[in-house]
Symmetry: D3
Subunit: 293 residues, 6 copies
Amino acid sequence: METVNILIEALPYIKKFHKKKIMIKYGGHAMIDSEAMSSTARDTVLLKYVGMKPMVVHGGGPEISRSMNKLGKEPKFIGGLRITDQETMDIVKMVLVGKINTDIVSQVCLHGGKGVGISGKDNHLIKARKRAPQIIVDNTTGEEKTIDLGLVGEIENVNPEIVEMLTSNEYIPIISPIGVDDSSNTLNLNADTVAGDIAAEVDAEKLIILTDVPGILEDPKDPETLIKKVNIDEIKELIDKGIVTDGMIPKVETCINAIDNGVKSTHIIDGRIKHSVLLEIFTKKGIGTMITR
Amino acid sequence: METVNILIEALPYIKKFHKKKIMIKYGGHAMIDSEAMSSTARDTVLLKYVGMKPMVVHGGGPEISRSMNKLGKEPKFIGGLRITDQETMDIVKMVLVGKINTDIVSQVCLHGGKGVGISGKDNHLIKARKRAPQIIVDNTTGEEKTIDLGLVGEIENVNPEIVEMLTSNEYIPIISPIGVDDSSNTLNLNADTVAGDIAAEVDAEKLIILTDVPGILEDPKDPETLIKKVNIDEIKELIDKGIVTDGMIPKVETCINAIDNGVKSTHIIDGRIKHSVLLEIFTKKGIGTMITR
Amino acid sequence: METVNILIEALPYIKKFHKKKIMIKYGGHAMIDSEAMSSTARDTVLLKYVGMKPMVVHGGGPEISRSMNKLGKEPKFIGGLRITDQETMDIVKMVLVGKINTDIVSQVCLHGGKGVGISGKDNHLIKARKRAPQIIVDNTTGEEKTIDLGLVGEIENVNPEIVEMLTSNEYIPIISPIGVDDSSNTLNLNADTVAGDIAAEVDAEKLIILTDVPGILEDPKDPETLIKKVNIDEIKELIDKGIVTDGMIPKVETCINAIDNGVKSTHIIDGRIKHSVLLEIFTKKGIGTMITR
Amino acid sequence: METVNILIEALPYIKKFHKKKIMIKYGGHAMIDSEAMSSTARDTVLLKYVGMKPMVVHGGGPEISRSMNKLGKEPKFIGGLRITDQETMDIVKMVLVGKINTDIVSQVCLHGGKGVGISGKDNHLIKARKRAPQIIVDNTTGEEKTIDLGLVGEIENVNPEIVEMLTSNEYIPIISPIGVDDSSNTLNLNADTVAGDIAAEVDAEKLIILTDVPGILEDPKDPETLIKKVNIDEIKELIDKGIVTDGMIPKVETCINAIDNGVKSTHIIDGRIKHSVLLEIFTKKGIGTMITR
Amino acid sequence: METVNILIEALPYIKKFHKKKIMIKYGGHAMIDSEAMSSTARDTVLLKYVGMKPMVVHGGGPEISRSMNKLGKEPKFIGGLRITDQETMDIVKMVLVGKINTDIVSQVCLHGGKGVGISGKDNHLIKARKRAPQIIVDNTTGEEKTIDLGLVGEIENVNPEIVEMLTSNEYIPIISPIGVDDSSNTLNLNADTVAGDIAAEVDAEKLIILTDVPGILEDPKDPETLIKKVNIDEIKELIDKGIVTDGMIPKVETCINAIDNGVKSTHIIDGRIKHSVLLEIFTKKGIGTMITR
Amino acid sequence: METVNILIEALPYIKKFHKKKIMIKYGGHAMIDSEAMSSTARDTVLLKYVGMKPMVVHGGGPEISRSMNKLGKEPKFIGGLRITDQETMDIVKMVLVGKINTDIVSQVCLHGGKGVGISGKDNHLIKARKRAPQIIVDNTTGEEKTIDLGLVGEIENVNPEIVEMLTSNEYIPIISPIGVDDSSNTLNLNADTVAGDIAAEVDAEKLIILTDVPGILEDPKDPETLIKKVNIDEIKELIDKGIVTDGMIPKVETCINAIDNGVKSTHIIDGRIKHSVLLEIFTKKGIGTMITR
């Protein structure tokens, strides 16, 4: 009986998001092991079957570093960005496209979804350019050093044709966050940004970012201070006030940017909680932070 | 959390019946008052939103008799069939098409479904012919009497074009059980039969008949003896053995006939239980009797 | 031979209105008995077969009053509007949707048209709101009385999706003039207005209103003074001068409104004359009054 | 009023042939001057506007001979077939395609039809082969002479793609009766046969051949002996009995062949009578001879 | 090996003009005999097979004059325009539509193209009006004489529907340069202008005019002075300076006009050189003069 | 000029294979370095632009072994089959899908093709089952040993939906030869077999296998003994006679199987020769061995 009552309760949400595109950024615990991955994938497939059009972009940082270590190559970062020489880029591609992406596709197909793995290179989905070198100030000497990040890119434009073809034919695209520049070089991209930019380009209804925190907290140490809903102006203020900090800032900026480009709502939620995507979509109070216009 | 677990549990059923046509025969308590109707309609709309193609045929006997009484006209039956003169037929049409059908459409639309009311007359959906007169034997004298039933029909053929157009354009057709003969007379039809014949003609996956009993019972007085699942051969035996009796026989024959013509499964369920349609579709054990090939 | 000459004479009109939508308001003598109805319906079907897209809205006042009388309920009107309590509304629906509409569908299908009966409730074709109460001044005392009209509505907006689907699939929609408000109440609507508003919303070429007068007469008592053609400015003047009066005013206003919203021409014609619709469309001089921009 | 009564009388025929393909072979008086052509073309366009799909094949023998005479070239015939050397073939093409076809297109377009002139060469609509040489017996000497007919062809197969594209896009194809052989030579073809073979290949409902006689007459001298309707078996008997003779035999054989290949009915009618096509289609008794299965 | 290297070299051009419409004006030596025609047609078909959408407009002046002479009628010209009485117009149609057009269709189909011959009359592709009479000044007396050109037209507008239907269904339209006026008269048109106006109306990428000169020459006597590429402003200057003269001026004006109306590039090339169309399209330096914005 | 002559010579092949699917198995030298890959990819794109529908399956054995070595893992083979434990499978996936596939996609897109990388896992394109363990006989002792190959599969069935969607939308699918079993395990597959089975399932015209030998040689040491064309019966005889041996046998069996399942012709060609694919398709004599029915 419960089963049915709950379906009835979910109906308004099912109706509201009927045929809408939902971009989900997989990351952190939501893909930490095959069980977590299976659960996340099943939730994604469920969205498809109740009438939405889910799309996935995945990250993969820790796995890349692990693979590099295995190959005796030390991962290096500047300001959170991985310094990516050609050999590193090969490892990035192999891990993202060859391992993580195919694993997600496995899980999505296993649960009955028509999963298809693509990357930003397919049909030039994501055109990117190399990022400018980072300038680092030596704390001791005050000297500036310019460090080339190598094959790290920023998005120039998204050509959503292939994503549109897939979603309109009932497929669930699983997208690896790499791009291609004018000389056909592969560039390493930030997965959150990729999710946000594609979401905007395909007129997605929602961008949902799975993280390993409860959402945006007034006091980062107290999960009770979770902000459930916030609009763009308020969130900018929270950044100014220093309440949104560190690693959360780029995620929030991705959200702001997505909303500015037409995405209706963006969500930063806790991927450690099982079925967090469904809880966020199908319950009135949600479980993370929703940012809207 | 429960909400979501239950959605996950429903997923296999949602997948299994994705894009399948589900014919629901409304009758009895499921439409006894506006609250019951609202609930039944909402369940129907939910099926649509999770990807199925529901269709509705409704009955209306008690309401017709009530209206006849108001107009000072006495309802008469022979062998369960309403003797239908032209004046009665006018009342039948007015009640079925003008009242009950529009009420269901109201409820379906209110819950977000694209309900459209039609009858067997629209684009000659149901061609019928007059039933042969009934022969009655006087118990006392043993004399036979031939009684003309008037405008009572039996189905000749179903032209499903309009139903197909509606379901393939995301509408939910609500169908009144009247038909039209070669001379354009309107004929009164049995609603169960109409539901079954249309279900077969449009290749429906399921025919679900809402009744005021728990299903088929081994012992009609003991609801504990409910038969959950039975195949055609077994059910025929149950008829032969006299376990299926009276008013249940035509319903069961409708089911047998529907299955013989391609419907995958038929269900006789208890419309007095809230959300019985959903319980039957979305739970493993169901709540009524399922008849299959 | 004649047959053919006349077809040839009709050709320019057939060409001119090829694939155009023609909204016909059935009313008065044109639907007074089954013979008249049959003739009107056949004319409508002919328009379909020579390449136009006819649509029908029907009235039904007298029949409603007759049914009310049968049920011992006295019809009451204020300023031409029927005071409609819930019980009256039920009768209105039963008569319009259950009786008159199905009768027209019968005739249209009998003559080979793909007739489908719908009402303003189907897929919320017509959203309406309750009309404001009428204020009546007592002639004797000069006192004002406010009278609630009950379930009498005015149109808020038309959602023409279902009408478009039907006409583009070669069906002839037959529409009952009731609407639905935000709370899913059924409201009684003026049939002329319904015809005009739907005609405008679907970009009809023509709105033809069947009445029981020859058209607009300079002198209401002299049919010889029929005005054959008049534009909007002229007709407004005729209203100002008091030449258009009484029951004709709302019809003329419907026409003006339809033209303002894009209908190319509107026609008030005499439904008592056989084949008046065809005579108006297929002959140079027509038989009624044509109002154009 | 008459206008309208006659439209109503035509309705059953309009319905019966709705969306059906009608092949009309233009010949003789029906295209003798621009007035006759105009009338024939207008009738053809009318068929289009009342919902049929007319197609035209035209002849042109007399005009070809006239042009040859102008150019000082004597027309020669063997057994009714024009001996066609290359120079004659050029004249045939110029007259059929360049003059007669464009004149018909003019008239069809003038009356509002979307006329398009094509020939059997376009997209290899008609593949043909050279006819075998004719063997002539000298009546005096009894000697046999073999005469090569030159570029006279018989149809090998019809590739109806272009005709189907035109009719399904609302165009009226006007077809010149020439074909092309494997070496890309143009061959002169019998127009009746072309009409019949294309009619069969596109599943036409009717083949109508315009001639300069009333139809098939029991007594060729007495128009009163016109045979209105005859089936294939009967017509074969009439040939055997010598009632169908001479120039009528190939036309009748074309009809028999068309019916054997699926055309529903074929008509040999009098093109000298104005609107003969319409009279044959829209009146119960027709004006010529109808041959059916 | 060469074969393949050259295909590889052609690839950039094949890509650049993929699915683009290419209008080719056939004239002069390119259609002087059947061998030349065959070669020109094969080139055209090749464009189709490597993914472009070629269209052809053909001229035919010399052939028309030859036919007139054969018929004992003297061709007369005023300012390069053929004085065209009704009899001449008949010859024009017969030669253009009946002979030249069908010959081109033959060759195109022989090489595997889906050639279809049409003229400006089909479905009123080209609406034209009679040109104003020419005013001639007698050199001796200085008197002005007004000379009616007869059925010589100038284009009013192009209705490209039929050309669009043909090209989008993989056909190659072959178009004869005649038009039709409001009274359905056939008018003789300049073929270059027809090619240019249709090219503009269908958004062609290129207009290629085949002539009997190398292109635009700085010094008409020295083929070494060929101008390979020129823009609109420069070409206007060349006209002003008197470098573009005589017969070349209308061709250049056609090009300017086509570019002003959206054609991307126009080409005046030497039809005497075999495969000139391909050389112009598939080689970097081309062989004639390209005029661009 | 040459350019153009050669295009003209290629025309018959372009026509013959218009819109046909061409499956190319990339392997060996054709993908040995980025220059070779670029050339192979450009040839593939050229096929697309001249109207065919190319598809690619790639191998990757040497690269996989190199990666294993880098990771300190020794590649092991039994009867030519790589023993594949889970760790090896991860490397296989990373190299095939993450590196080789993305590199091919890069090159195809760089040359203007709409390349999309997929694997046999996407939408369950290739369902496979684990191969039976291999039985090895110890040459010395004569003992049999059963060796489990691990995650090595054989194809059960191909679900070509995604390949069909891609080719019909102008994409070039690049396919990695891995499959998925019922438990969602990834299995390592033979790339030739994958190419052959998909070719058959999508009704490909041709299967072209790029190898590092000239084709099938009568005398493996003498390239002069190349067999240009052979049919299925003859090739079977060649196997029986021991002329086709070793590594060539599975390739030939793939070809035989593909032809038995509807592929029109199969080609074993020398990928060391530049543009070998084009030479095989666009020249009369080809460069490798063609096997046909």
